[in-house]
Symmetry: C2
Subunit: 422 residues, 2 copies
């Protein structure tokens, strides 16, 4: 039996709904302790309840009064791609339009070309390095979408790389098929024909080969409209995939209503969600996944109505949206700061949004997202005295230790694994 | 002789004014190499010019095509203080006013109390840990202001701690005396009496004991007006201190004009600087030090007019303003991203703002701020392929190696020195 006790935890922030009260909104235990056995949380409580002699075969770790949280979860990323678009960044600062950038050889098609040309080994190495960077920031579960292949072969290549990484990466990886991320260059002006391809060719194979847990669609003006999005998601559901939707990022197209109606697991972005859309999310049990890094990176002055969604009783998750164009931010801690500073979210809601609500956005709330007996032993220790400090101190990675399925790594060990990609 | 050659530098970004051209605005050398001898830069050039056999006694390092920059310089911080104000952060998000926070025991006076009560040993340990975090982000020179003591004894205590750290910290430290950071509680309503104390008691001792290089004043409505600021700065100059000024953060009081007239080394903040103020800075040779982290952290929607200052020919520096209340951001790389995303500064100007212009803001441009023969061998290596990537990838610390006066530390070594403060 592999057993570990962590003692002397200044604040053990369980985020366990069963422990949450109005006075203790994160189910926090002061001077707490936690026991992991065989990768699972076996016991959670107050340090004074423990008699060390009762556990002769445990390993013991001293948290020195620091703060323990559930492993952070990044539930929306586009982490598998090749190439970079650093030159575009400067063009955007100069006020160049999307079209001008595309005409200069930039934009998403640049990433699609590089991703199509990359070998599985190259994609695997790039993605693994990115996942390790996220882990060194305390993220133990990462959703990753395909969608830079945009043809059958390249989408499958990306999803197979993700499947292989799922077994070998130091974080948990949740793969999402997103063939409908954009209209491929070969299908310009023929979106319906591409939707046929997605529904009739790609989804059946992705589902049969169990290459993804979720299907996601970019439902937006100029991309996939509500009817096309519905067709793709309904097909995906028939084939056993769970559903996500990029909705109302640039305008209120009705994606949130569709997501709620289909009881999608999450609807993401939501900058322009209407009151009807919010009601549909609530009725459908759909998580609202907000991505403030993208508005920040694109210098849009509007953000999703986080407080309104919370007030309506919709579970709000936060994620990076990490991708090579519109949000080159892989740091979930920075997204947490943006949620406070740009969306006015209170620290308590921000912490729920990257733990229990993020788990719900991946339909994994039974298994992770809180420090609850029986759940996977994913936890992160920070060198702070109160969880508020995690939001108060912006831009510092204060992580000291990570536990993934009960396996411990120190910050130094995580950093040492970040070999430069040269 | 202690000699080191770094070879195979993909982009050697010298930021050397003598190498800058319209086509090469950062004086960048592709496939560059650099030689350090006894803590100083001895040679800079193209890797192909080097014949390795000519240097039999050098140590050689391979940069693997990565990007080398001058060590970053954070020219405005308030890094020496005790205590934290994490609880206030949430109050501010809830819309509580400065007065309400102060009445609840928060605000700057909370930091003043904690700093007065702290022992020199405590202050030294806290400050050293913060400086090590900055170094792990590539910052090799840090200006630190006193100003949370606000009485003679406590100001001297802080400055003496800084003097001791100057000899032992792994970064270069530039101490600034800022007794006029706020009106001490003992002098409420008697600002002129405190200015007497600063001018007649504090400055002479600080100068005589060589406890600071600069004197700085918070010139702002409700703090020190232009006449009081002038009196303090003129006294400081008579005693041999160099001058800085916090100017036009909340309104256009005329601080920039004063700074320019006195030929202060820098004027800092400048959100509300007028055209006359800009002209005065230009005429006085005064660096404009912009602190976008503070507007971001305080959620002010206005930023300093960076592009206007640049267009007027004023050298623009960027710094963190790291402090426990209005900007709890110790990460200069994040400030660089904010400069792009919130102030529209091009990457080239951002890099100058944390190297050569930041050196000028500390009157150290003869000694550092560019990779120029004869300057101190402070340099930082990043795991990127072009310097644009440093701005494009937001929130990732891509540093791999630091050289401080020619002494090499790997990222892993820097992280290993970040012992948690428990």
């Amino acid at each position: 039996m592999n057993a570990l006790f962590i003692q002397n935890i200044g604040q053990l922030v369980t985020v366990d709904p069963a422990r949450m009260t109005a006075d203790n909104p994160l189910g926090m235990i002061e001077n707490g302790a936690i026991r992991f056995e065989n990768g699972t949380i076996a016991w959670v409580g107050s340090a004074i309840e423990i008699n060390r002699v009762d556990y002769p075969n445990s390993q013991w770790m001293d948290a020195h009064g620091r703060v323990l949280l559930p492993g952070l979860i990044d539930s929306h990323t586009h982490t598998i791609f090749a190439g970079d678009r650093a030159n575009e960044f400067e063009m955007r600062l100069q006020g160049k339009s999307y079209l001008e950038i595309a005409q200069a050889g930039g934009g998403i098609l640049k990433t699609v070309q590089a991703t199509r040309q990359a070998t599985p080994e190259e994609l695997s190495a790039l993605t693994l390095q990115r996942l390790k960077r996220m882990l060194a920031l305390g993220v133990t579960t990462v959703e990753v979408k395909s969608g830079y292949g945009l043809d059958f072969e390249s989408e499958l290549k990306c999803l197979r790389v993700l499947q292989a990484l799922r077994a070998q990466a130091p974080v948990s990886l949740v793969p999402t098929y997103m063939g409908a991320h954009d209209i491929p260059p070969e299908y310009q002006g023929r979106t319906d024909a591409y939707v046929d391809q997605v529904c009739e060719v790609q989804i059946p194979v992705v589902a049969e080969q169990k290459l993804a847990d979720f299907c996601d669609v970019f439902c937006e003006k100029g991309y996939f409209d509500v009817a096309q999005s519905r067709r793709i998601l309904e097909t995906a559901r028939q084939h056993g995939l769970k559903l996500k939707l990029h909705a109302e990022e640039f305008c209120d197209l009705g994606g949130a209503k569709l997501a709620g109606e289909l009881q999608a697991t999450s609807a993401d972005h939501l900058l322009h969600v209407s009151d009807d859309g919010i009601a549909a999310l609530k009725a459908g049990g759909t998580v609202a996944t907000l991505l403030p890094g993208t508005a920040f990176y694109l210098r849009i002055k509007e953000y999703a109505p986080a407080l309104k969604l919370i007030a309506a009783g919709v579970p709000v998750a936060l994620a990076t949206d990490f991708n090579p164009g519109s949000c080159v931010i892989d740091n979930l801690q920075l997204i947490m700061a943006l949620a406070c500073l740009q969306m006015n979210m209170p620290p308590v809601e921000v912490i729920k949004a990257v733990t229990i609500h993020a788990a719900q956005a991946l339909d994994l709330q039974h298994d992770r997202g809180s420090l609850t007996v029986g759940k996977r032993a994913d936890a992160v220790l920070f060198d702070i005295h109160s969880y508020n400090e995690l939001l108060y101190r912006v831009g510092s990675n204060l992580l000291t230790d990570v536990y993934v399925a009960g396996q411990h790594s120190s910050r130094q060990q995580l950093e040492a694994q970040l070999q430069p990609v040269t």
